[in-house]
Symmetry: C2
Subunit: 180 residues, 2 copies
Amino acid sequence: MNNPIDSNAGPRLYRIPDGDDRERLTCPDCGYVAYENPRIVVGVVARASDERILLCRRAIPPRIGYWTLPAGYMELNETAEHGAMREAWEEARAQLELTGLLAIYSLARIHQVQLIYRAILTQDEVSAGPESQEVKLFHYDELPWDELAFPTVDWALKHDHQAHLSGYTKAFSNPTEDEA
Amino acid sequence: MNNPIDSNAGPRLYRIPDGDDRERLTCPDCGYVAYENPRIVVGVVARASDERILLCRRAIPPRIGYWTLPAGYMELNETAEHGAMREAWEEARAQLELTGLLAIYSLARIHQVQLIYRAILTQDEVSAGPESQEVKLFHYDELPWDELAFPTVDWALKHDHQAHLSGYTKAFSNPTEDEA
Ligand SMILES: [Zn+2]
Ligand SMILES: [Zn+2]
Protein backbone atom coordinates (compact mmCIF):
# COMPACT_ATOMS: atom_id res chain seq x y z
CA MET A 1 0.00 0.00 0.00
CA ASN A 2 1.01 3.49 -0.82
CA ASN A 3 2.24 5.86 1.87
CA PRO A 4 2.66 9.35 0.39
CA ILE A 5 4.55 10.64 3.42
CA ASP A 6 7.46 8.29 2.72
CA SER A 7 7.60 9.26 -0.92
CA ASN A 8 10.02 11.57 -2.73
CA ALA A 9 7.31 12.57 -5.16
CA GLY A 10 3.78 13.83 -4.83
CA PRO A 11 2.17 15.36 -1.74
CA ARG A 12 4.72 15.31 1.12
CA LEU A 13 4.71 18.66 2.96
CA TYR A 14 2.13 19.87 5.46
CA ARG A 15 0.72 23.36 4.83
CA ILE A 16 -2.61 25.08 5.60
CA PRO A 17 -4.38 25.68 2.25
CA ASP A 18 -6.28 28.95 1.72
CA GLY A 19 -9.71 28.78 3.31
CA ASP A 20 -8.94 25.68 5.35
CA ASP A 21 -8.40 25.42 9.10
CA ARG A 22 -5.73 22.77 9.40
CA GLU A 23 -2.57 21.50 7.78
CA ARG A 24 -2.97 19.31 4.70
CA LEU A 25 -0.45 17.26 2.78
CA THR A 26 0.63 19.25 -0.27
CA CYS A 27 3.00 18.63 -3.17
CA PRO A 28 5.81 21.21 -3.35
CA ASP A 29 6.37 20.37 -7.05
CA CYS A 30 2.91 21.03 -8.42
CA GLY A 31 0.83 22.53 -5.59
CA TYR A 32 -1.65 19.63 -5.41
CA VAL A 33 -3.38 19.25 -2.02
CA ALA A 34 -4.06 15.69 -0.90
CA TYR A 35 -7.01 15.73 1.48
CA GLU A 36 -6.22 12.73 3.60
CA ASN A 37 -9.16 10.84 4.98
CA PRO A 38 -9.33 7.62 6.93
CA ARG A 39 -9.37 4.62 4.66
CA ILE A 40 -12.11 2.04 4.88
CA VAL A 41 -11.22 -1.60 5.39
CA VAL A 42 -14.06 -4.04 4.78
CA GLY A 43 -13.87 -7.54 6.19
CA VAL A 44 -15.90 -10.51 7.22
CA VAL A 45 -16.24 -13.12 9.94
CA ALA A 46 -17.66 -16.02 7.95
CA ARG A 47 -18.91 -19.27 9.41
CA ALA A 48 -19.43 -22.59 7.65
CA SER A 49 -22.55 -24.74 8.12
CA ASP A 50 -20.86 -26.44 11.11
CA GLU A 51 -20.13 -23.01 12.68
CA ARG A 52 -16.39 -23.12 11.97
CA ILE A 53 -14.82 -19.75 11.22
CA LEU A 54 -12.81 -18.88 8.11
CA LEU A 55 -9.28 -17.55 8.52
CA CYS A 56 -6.51 -16.91 5.99
CA ARG A 57 -2.76 -17.25 6.59
CA ARG A 58 -1.13 -14.16 5.08
CA ALA A 59 1.19 -14.58 2.09
CA ILE A 60 2.06 -10.87 1.96
CA PRO A 61 3.52 -8.31 4.37
CA PRO A 62 2.84 -7.15 6.94
CA ARG A 63 2.60 -10.17 9.27
CA ILE A 64 3.34 -12.87 6.71
CA GLY A 65 2.39 -16.30 8.01
CA TYR A 66 -0.07 -15.00 10.59
CA TRP A 67 -3.81 -15.61 10.49
CA THR A 68 -6.31 -12.95 9.50
CA LEU A 69 -9.90 -12.49 8.45
CA PRO A 70 -10.68 -11.84 4.79
CA ALA A 71 -10.41 -8.05 4.66
CA GLY A 72 -8.94 -5.26 2.61
CA TYR A 73 -9.35 -1.72 1.39
CA MET A 74 -12.76 -0.84 0.02
CA GLU A 75 -12.50 0.16 -3.63
CA LEU A 76 -14.39 2.91 -5.39
CA ASN A 77 -17.60 1.94 -7.15
CA GLU A 78 -18.62 -0.77 -4.75
CA THR A 79 -20.75 -0.83 -1.63
CA ALA A 80 -19.19 -1.77 1.71
CA GLU A 81 -21.08 -5.07 1.54
CA HIS A 82 -19.80 -5.85 -1.96
CA GLY A 83 -16.28 -4.97 -0.85
CA ALA A 84 -16.46 -7.45 2.02
CA MET A 85 -17.72 -10.17 -0.33
CA ARG A 86 -15.04 -9.31 -2.90
CA GLU A 87 -12.27 -9.66 -0.31
CA ALA A 88 -13.65 -13.02 0.83
CA TRP A 89 -13.51 -14.22 -2.76
CA GLU A 90 -10.07 -12.78 -3.52
CA GLU A 91 -8.38 -14.10 -0.39
CA ALA A 92 -10.23 -17.35 0.30
CA ARG A 93 -12.34 -18.16 -2.78
CA ALA A 94 -15.23 -18.03 -0.37
CA GLN A 95 -18.83 -17.60 -1.43
CA LEU A 96 -21.02 -16.25 1.30
CA GLU A 97 -24.09 -14.40 2.36
CA LEU A 98 -23.73 -11.43 4.70
CA THR A 99 -25.98 -11.55 7.75
CA GLY A 100 -25.32 -8.11 9.20
CA LEU A 101 -22.76 -5.64 10.41
CA LEU A 102 -20.66 -6.97 13.28
CA ALA A 103 -18.50 -3.98 14.18
CA ILE A 104 -17.02 -0.64 13.25
CA TYR A 105 -13.47 -0.23 14.51
CA SER A 106 -11.88 3.21 14.28
CA LEU A 107 -8.09 2.95 14.20
CA ALA A 108 -7.15 6.60 14.32
CA ARG A 109 -3.42 6.00 14.62
CA ILE A 110 -3.27 4.10 11.35
CA HIS A 111 -6.03 6.15 9.69
CA GLN A 112 -8.39 3.25 9.17
CA VAL A 113 -12.04 2.56 9.80
CA GLN A 114 -12.85 -1.12 9.62
CA LEU A 115 -16.36 -2.26 8.75
CA ILE A 116 -16.62 -5.94 9.72
CA TYR A 117 -19.61 -7.98 8.59
CA ARG A 118 -20.91 -11.35 9.72
CA ALA A 119 -21.55 -14.00 7.08
CA ILE A 120 -22.37 -17.62 6.45
CA LEU A 121 -20.60 -19.58 3.73
CA THR A 122 -22.99 -20.68 1.03
CA GLN A 123 -20.57 -23.50 0.21
CA ASP A 124 -17.99 -24.97 2.55
CA GLU A 125 -15.23 -25.31 -0.06
CA VAL A 126 -12.67 -22.54 0.32
CA SER A 127 -9.13 -22.22 -1.07
CA ALA A 128 -6.22 -19.81 -0.87
CA GLY A 129 -6.24 -16.80 -3.18
CA PRO A 130 -2.98 -15.09 -4.21
CA GLU A 131 -2.60 -13.14 -0.95
CA SER A 132 -3.05 -16.22 1.28
CA GLN A 133 -0.65 -19.10 2.01
CA GLU A 134 -3.47 -21.23 3.31
CA VAL A 135 -7.10 -20.89 4.32
CA LYS A 136 -8.75 -22.92 7.04
CA LEU A 137 -11.98 -23.30 9.00
CA PHE A 138 -11.57 -23.30 12.80
CA HIS A 139 -13.90 -24.11 15.63
CA TYR A 140 -13.94 -21.19 18.07
CA ASP A 141 -12.06 -23.10 20.78
CA GLU A 142 -9.35 -24.11 18.29
CA LEU A 143 -8.63 -20.62 16.94
CA PRO A 144 -4.89 -19.76 16.68
CA TRP A 145 -5.05 -16.88 19.18
CA ASP A 146 -1.26 -16.56 19.43
CA GLU A 147 -0.82 -16.37 15.68
CA LEU A 148 -3.38 -13.72 14.75
CA ALA A 149 -2.05 -11.01 12.44
CA PHE A 150 -3.70 -7.93 13.98
CA PRO A 151 -5.50 -6.90 17.21
CA THR A 152 -8.68 -6.20 15.26
CA VAL A 153 -8.81 -9.87 14.19
CA ASP A 154 -8.83 -10.80 17.87
CA TRP A 155 -11.55 -8.20 18.61
CA ALA A 156 -13.72 -9.33 15.72
CA LEU A 157 -13.47 -13.01 16.58
CA LYS A 158 -14.48 -12.31 20.18
CA HIS A 159 -17.28 -9.94 19.17
CA ASP A 160 -18.57 -12.49 16.67
CA HIS A 161 -18.50 -15.12 19.41
CA GLN A 162 -20.54 -12.85 21.71
CA ALA A 163 -22.96 -12.12 18.89
CA HIS A 164 -23.19 -15.82 18.03
CA LEU A 165 -23.96 -16.82 21.62
CA SER A 166 -26.51 -14.08 22.24
CA GLY A 167 -28.18 -13.68 18.88
CA TYR A 168 -26.99 -10.09 19.24
CA THR A 169 -27.29 -7.92 16.14
CA LYS A 170 -26.19 -4.50 17.27
CA ALA A 171 -22.84 -3.32 15.92
CA PHE A 172 -19.87 -3.37 18.26
CA SER A 173 -17.19 -0.68 18.35
CA ASN A 174 -13.61 -0.54 19.65
CA PRO A 175 -13.46 -2.46 22.96
CA THR A 176 -11.84 0.50 24.66
CA GLU A 177 -11.69 4.13 23.66
CA ASP A 178 -7.91 4.40 23.95
CA GLU A 179 -7.29 1.67 21.43
CA ALA A 180 -8.44 3.98 18.64
CA MET B 1 -13.88 19.82 -1.37
CA ASN B 2 -10.96 18.80 -3.49
CA ASN B 3 -11.51 16.91 -6.73
CA PRO B 4 -8.17 15.86 -8.18
CA ILE B 5 -9.70 14.78 -11.49
CA ASP B 6 -10.66 18.39 -12.30
CA SER B 7 -7.25 19.70 -11.44
CA ASN B 8 -4.42 20.75 -13.73
CA ALA B 9 -1.87 19.63 -11.17
CA GLY B 10 -1.28 16.47 -9.19
CA PRO B 11 -2.71 13.05 -9.94
CA ARG B 12 -4.98 13.27 -13.00
CA LEU B 13 -4.28 10.37 -15.39
CA TYR B 14 -5.41 6.76 -15.00
CA ARG B 15 -2.68 4.10 -15.39
CA ILE B 16 -2.16 0.60 -13.99
CA PRO B 17 0.84 0.78 -11.60
CA ASP B 18 3.36 -2.08 -11.52
CA GLY B 19 2.05 -4.94 -9.40
CA ASP B 20 -1.49 -3.64 -9.30
CA ASP B 21 -4.55 -5.01 -11.08
CA ARG B 22 -6.50 -1.89 -11.95
CA GLU B 23 -6.11 1.67 -13.11
CA ARG B 24 -5.11 4.24 -10.50
CA LEU B 25 -4.98 7.99 -10.67
CA THR B 26 -1.35 9.02 -11.29
CA CYS B 27 0.48 12.31 -11.65
CA PRO B 28 2.21 12.66 -15.02
CA ASP B 29 4.53 15.33 -13.58
CA CYS B 30 6.04 13.44 -10.68
CA GLY B 31 4.84 9.82 -10.93
CA TYR B 32 2.88 9.89 -7.67
CA VAL B 33 0.04 7.34 -7.47
CA ALA B 34 -3.07 8.47 -5.63
CA TYR B 35 -4.85 5.41 -4.30
CA GLU B 36 -8.40 6.64 -4.24
CA ASN B 37 -10.64 5.25 -1.58
CA PRO B 38 -14.19 6.05 -0.63
CA ARG B 39 -14.38 8.90 1.83
CA ILE B 40 -16.15 8.54 5.13
CA VAL B 41 -18.90 10.95 6.06
CA VAL B 42 -19.95 10.85 9.71
CA GLY B 43 -23.27 12.28 10.77
CA VAL B 44 -25.94 12.17 13.40
CA VAL B 45 -29.71 12.12 13.88
CA ALA B 46 -30.01 13.88 17.22
CA ARG B 47 -33.22 14.23 19.22
CA ALA B 48 -33.98 16.69 22.00
CA SER B 49 -35.65 15.69 25.26
CA ASP B 50 -39.07 16.27 23.61
CA GLU B 51 -38.07 13.97 20.71
CA ARG B 52 -37.67 16.79 18.19
CA ILE B 53 -34.96 16.21 15.59
CA LEU B 54 -32.05 18.57 14.89
CA LEU B 55 -31.58 19.86 11.33
CA CYS B 56 -29.27 22.55 9.90
CA ARG B 57 -30.01 24.85 6.98
CA ARG B 58 -26.90 24.85 4.78
CA ALA B 59 -24.93 28.09 4.41
CA ILE B 60 -22.44 26.57 1.93
CA PRO B 61 -22.68 24.79 -1.42
CA PRO B 62 -23.90 22.41 -2.53
CA ARG B 63 -27.61 22.85 -1.78
CA ILE B 64 -27.39 26.19 0.06
CA GLY B 65 -30.60 26.91 1.98
CA TYR B 66 -31.68 23.27 2.17
CA TRP B 67 -31.93 21.29 5.39
CA THR B 68 -29.43 18.62 6.35
CA LEU B 69 -28.26 16.56 9.29
CA PRO B 70 -25.04 17.54 11.03
CA ALA B 71 -22.50 15.57 8.99
CA GLY B 72 -19.16 15.93 7.29
CA TYR B 73 -15.95 14.21 6.31
CA MET B 74 -14.27 12.22 9.03
CA GLU B 75 -10.84 13.60 9.79
CA LEU B 76 -7.69 11.67 10.56
CA ASN B 77 -6.90 11.06 14.22
CA GLU B 78 -10.48 10.78 15.41
CA THR B 79 -12.87 7.89 15.80
CA ALA B 80 -16.06 7.75 13.74
CA GLU B 81 -18.01 8.54 16.91
CA HIS B 82 -15.87 11.56 17.74
CA GLY B 83 -16.20 12.77 14.16
CA ALA B 84 -19.99 12.64 14.37
CA MET B 85 -19.92 14.59 17.65
CA ARG B 86 -17.45 17.11 16.22
CA GLU B 87 -19.70 17.79 13.22
CA ALA B 88 -22.72 18.28 15.50
CA TRP B 89 -20.73 20.85 17.46
CA GLU B 90 -19.29 22.62 14.40
CA GLU B 91 -22.57 22.90 12.51
CA ALA B 92 -25.14 23.25 15.29
CA ARG B 93 -23.25 23.89 18.54
CA ALA B 94 -24.98 20.75 19.71
CA GLN B 95 -23.82 18.72 22.65
CA LEU B 96 -25.01 15.18 22.58
CA GLU B 97 -24.57 11.60 23.56
CA LEU B 98 -24.47 8.94 20.87
CA THR B 99 -26.84 6.04 21.42
CA GLY B 100 -25.75 3.72 18.61
CA LEU B 101 -25.13 3.36 14.92
CA LEU B 102 -28.23 4.04 12.82
CA ALA B 103 -27.03 3.25 9.29
CA ILE B 104 -24.19 2.74 6.88
CA TYR B 105 -24.96 4.15 3.45
CA SER B 106 -22.61 3.28 0.56
CA LEU B 107 -22.78 5.91 -2.17
CA ALA B 108 -20.53 4.34 -4.76
CA ARG B 109 -21.21 6.92 -7.45
CA ILE B 110 -19.93 9.76 -5.28
CA HIS B 111 -17.30 7.64 -3.53
CA GLN B 112 -18.73 8.07 -0.05
CA VAL B 113 -19.59 5.81 2.82
CA GLN B 114 -21.81 7.51 5.37
CA LEU B 115 -21.82 6.36 8.99
CA ILE B 116 -24.90 7.82 10.64
CA TYR B 117 -25.29 7.64 14.41
CA ARG B 118 -28.32 8.19 16.65
CA ALA B 119 -27.98 10.64 19.51
CA ILE B 120 -29.80 12.52 22.22
CA LEU B 121 -29.01 16.15 22.94
CA THR B 122 -27.60 16.60 26.41
CA GLN B 123 -28.81 20.18 26.33
CA ASP B 124 -31.60 21.54 24.15
CA GLU B 125 -29.87 24.82 23.25
CA VAL B 126 -28.43 24.68 19.74
CA SER B 127 -27.24 27.47 17.43
CA ALA B 128 -25.90 27.83 13.92
CA GLY B 129 -22.19 27.24 13.34
CA PRO B 130 -20.36 28.86 10.40
CA GLU B 131 -21.61 26.33 7.83
CA SER B 132 -25.27 26.72 8.82
CA GLN B 133 -27.72 29.57 8.14
CA GLU B 134 -30.04 28.34 10.83
CA VAL B 135 -30.54 25.30 13.04
CA LYS B 136 -33.90 24.06 14.24
CA LEU B 137 -35.59 21.23 16.10
CA PHE B 138 -38.49 19.57 14.25
CA HIS B 139 -41.16 17.14 15.31
CA TYR B 140 -41.15 14.20 12.89
CA ASP B 141 -44.49 15.16 11.33
CA GLU B 142 -43.27 18.73 10.76
CA LEU B 143 -40.02 17.85 8.98
CA PRO B 144 -39.33 19.88 5.81
CA TRP B 145 -39.37 16.86 3.47
CA ASP B 146 -39.43 18.98 0.31
CA GLU B 147 -36.44 21.03 1.39
CA LEU B 148 -33.99 18.32 2.39
CA ALA B 149 -30.50 18.77 0.94
CA PHE B 150 -29.69 15.15 0.03
CA PRO B 151 -31.45 11.78 -0.41
CA THR B 152 -29.46 10.30 2.46
CA VAL B 153 -30.99 12.88 4.83
CA ASP B 154 -34.41 11.55 3.82
CA TRP B 155 -33.26 7.96 4.31
CA ALA B 156 -31.73 8.64 7.71
CA LEU B 157 -34.78 10.50 9.02
CA LYS B 158 -37.06 7.64 7.99
CA HIS B 159 -34.70 4.98 9.34
CA ASP B 160 -34.41 6.87 12.62
CA HIS B 161 -38.19 7.06 12.80
CA GLN B 162 -38.45 3.29 12.28
CA ALA B 163 -35.79 2.74 14.90
CA HIS B 164 -37.49 5.13 17.29
CA LEU B 165 -40.87 3.42 16.94
CA SER B 166 -39.55 -0.11 17.26
CA GLY B 167 -36.64 0.29 19.68
CA TYR B 168 -34.65 -1.21 16.85
CA THR B 169 -30.89 -1.09 17.25
CA LYS B 170 -29.57 -2.94 14.21
CA ALA B 171 -27.83 -0.79 11.62
CA PHE B 172 -29.72 -0.03 8.40
CA SER B 173 -28.10 0.12 4.96
CA ASN B 174 -29.08 1.68 1.63
CA PRO B 175 -32.85 1.23 1.15
CA THR B 176 -32.28 -0.28 -2.27
CA GLU B 177 -29.19 -1.78 -3.81
CA ASP B 178 -29.30 0.33 -6.96
CA GLU B 179 -29.13 3.60 -5.05
CA ALA B 180 -25.48 2.88 -4.20
ZN1 LIG C 1 3.07 17.16 -7.51
ZN1 LIG D 1 2.88 15.40 -9.27
